[in-house]
């Protein structure tokens, strides 16, 4: 099956033939070449880049959130205000006493309203009255130190005052003072009791605060995400519009 003379003639003549293409062919090729030279995957790459940035943002937000929760837990552990299980009875008493000291000014007017000692003293206009009032205040201030003796004093005190007595003896006054002192101390004890009744769980408070913080952070993160998404969106839209 070797090529014979005729086939060689065919080959020779066909190989020497030239057909001039139309003028439009180069323009077509030119257009195709310019199309091919344009950066093809510019737009898809933009999408890829945008999605990558989006994932990055989401990741950073997620890890930030995680970091915050961890910090919060650390705060709970390192908090000097320890939960009630760790607090000893002595420390509790001290704290209660300190609170009482802080509430001196609220206790004084109550004692005034309950006991008639101060108004009576003022009505009488006695010069010693003011002095004794001061003494009463001092005694109320120091009542926390004399908690053990309050009970015995209270038993000896006389609640009733003569309504229209012109002369008040020193003993009576002392009795009144001791009475008011016992009353104020009783009121303080009652407050303490109520305070003890309303037990504050430190863990619960901390967890509540934590959840509030988390919620606020989540809301802010979502806001930021929305803002970023909108900016990317507008940039892409503008870009498409310009193209």
């Amino acid at each position: 099956m070797e090529p014979n003379k005729l086939e060689l003639q065919f080959k020779e003549k066909l190989n020497s033939r030239e057909i001039q293409p139309s003028e439009m062919t180069w323009n077509k090729l030119d257009a195709m070449l310019t199309d091919a030279e344009k950066p093809k995957a510019k737009f898809p790459w933009m999408y890829v880049a945008a999605s990558f940035v989006g994932f990055l943002l989401l990741g950073t937000f997620y890890f930030n959130q995680k970091g915050n929760t961890m910090n919060n837990s650390k705060v709970v552990l390192e908090n000097p205000v320890a939960p009630p299980t760790t607090v000893g009875p002595d420390k509790r008493l001290k704290a209660a006493k300190e609170q009482e000291k802080g509430l001196v000014f609220t206790v004084v007017p109550k004692s005034k309203s309950r006991t008639n000692a101060a108004p009576i003293l003022k009505e009488k206009g006695a010069s010693n009255g003011s002095m004794r009032n001061q003494e009463v205040a001092l005694l109320i201030k120091n009542n926390s130190q004399e908690d053990t003796t309050i009970g015995t004093i209270a038993t000896n005190s006389n609640d009733e005052l003569p309504p229209k007595s012109k002369y008040i003896s020193a003993e009576q006054l002392l009795a009144q003072v001791s009475n008011t002192k016992s009353k104020t101390s009783l009121a303080a004890i009652a407050i303490e009791k109520t305070r003890k009744g309303v037990e504050v769980n430190a863990n619960r408070l901390l967890s509540e605060a934590e959840t509030e913080l988390n919620q606020s952070f989540r809301a802010s993160a979502l806001d930021r995400l929305n803002k970023n998404f909108n900016t990317i969106k507008t940039v892409l839209v503008n870009r498409n519009y310009t193209e």
Partner: protein, 186 residues
Amino acid sequence: MKVIHLHHQENELIQLAVESNRQAQQRIYVQFSPKMLSVCRQYIKDIHQAEDIMITAFMKVFTNLKNFEHKGSFEGWIRRIMVNECISFIRVQKKIRYLEEENYFEESFNTIESQFSVDEIQFLIDTLPDGYKMVFNLYAIEGFKHQEIAIMLGIKEGTSKSQLSHARKMLQGQLNKLKNYDNGTE
């Protein structure tokens, strides 16, 4: 010296075309397009289709120009791309069925001394079915071996041989017709 200078010039032109220099690309196109359109026309009957295929093949030439290793001739490299493009076009457009025949006669042309014009040769080739035409062109005009043709067309070597035999037989019949026409017997 002149050949070396021309070769150097061609290499420079190719390098410029690789760098997407449009003028260099145009020069290559102007230089080779008439010959390449002739190659495409051997396989494709319609000249406009042949032009389109040539453009597509030139696109491939320019996009793959950086892969040209300067081992063979540049024209041969472009020609190979043209032939491949024509074959793939025919294979995609027309579903060709090759008849696999084990028993076929090795046809050869009777010694015809008469000379034919290019148009007559092209006319004779155009009368062949696409399968015969491809194998005949690849074997007789391009000079490929049956093994290579089989790989190119995705057929068996025997199929390629039988296709060539049938093509020759058909061409012989057409040549006899032409001869009789020239002698005035038909």
